[in-house]
Symmetry: C2
Subunit: 145 residues, 2 copies
Amino acid sequence: MEQEQNFLTLNDHLCFSIYACSRAILRLYRPYLDELKLTYPQYLVLVVLWEYEQSTVKQLGELLELDSGTLTPMLKRMEAAGLLKRSRDTKDERVIIVKITDEGKSLQEKALCIPQSLMDSTGMTTEEVNALNSAVKKLSKLVNE
Amino acid sequence: MEQEQNFLTLNDHLCFSIYACSRAILRLYRPYLDELKLTYPQYLVLVVLWEYEQSTVKQLGELLELDSGTLTPMLKRMEAAGLLKRSRDTKDERVIIVKITDEGKSLQEKALCIPQSLMDSTGMTTEEVNALNSAVKKLSKLVNE
DNA sequence: TAAAATTAAGTTGCGAACAATTTTATTAAA
DNA sequence: TTTAATAAAATTGTTCGCAACTTAATTTTA
């Protein structure tokens, strides 16, 4: 008896939908990010720092699911741009404390248009966005074991 | 009267959920992709070529939403790995025809485990996967105008 | 048909993303 | 307390992803 292969086409691939959607949102955000001279992952670092004021490389890595190989050079660029300050924790010299500057804080209001552009572009209600957000988070959680 | 700011935290950001989920799926796929000596976007190129046998750089770009700046070097690496052949279209010398090799075809069955790993890891039914796939595609479509 | 516009790939340059490794600091164990 | 193990960042190297630009071929239009 023949084995049914069930090869998936590109459009059957949930992974591709998510990967393409992520990049589509970045394209939508780009003009707003350009205006603020930010990249998308830099914007995410600021979202964390607007909430917590300061953090460590390790904590940023846990929140954003990025490692020091990605964060270290990015944080150096953001420091050079005046958005944050990096300093050693005197209690534990292995740790780098990342603290937002006034200049970094000043971008928070200007950045409101970024997530708003996604709402505007999709016309989704807050409830619809939250429902999809929950579904995607649930998937992530399962994938992360 | 005060203006309510409603700054979003990281977890409220649908864009972040999708971006993080996309990378979580890549982490899940990595061991299977490593086994086949493929990167994720290379796998996607093969998914297209398994379906269509051959394509052009332009068509691959439309299907995968990638530009020639990404595709040209990637396709050259895949050609060097023996997975596909690149040749000029004699009818229009601007066009590059990308055709899968027998070696590239031989990976199709071995790659079945890749999308399967996502099903296994999430325990989602085909119906649940399809529903989420549709929701994400709908979002992408809206974002792409 | 000659010039202008358009199109398809390719090139260059930069910033992620991440694996693998190294460096330095702290903690645990012998 | 010296050594071993662990931990946090940093470094190195490869591959995307994409903006901006270039090259070469084709099509349009003047």
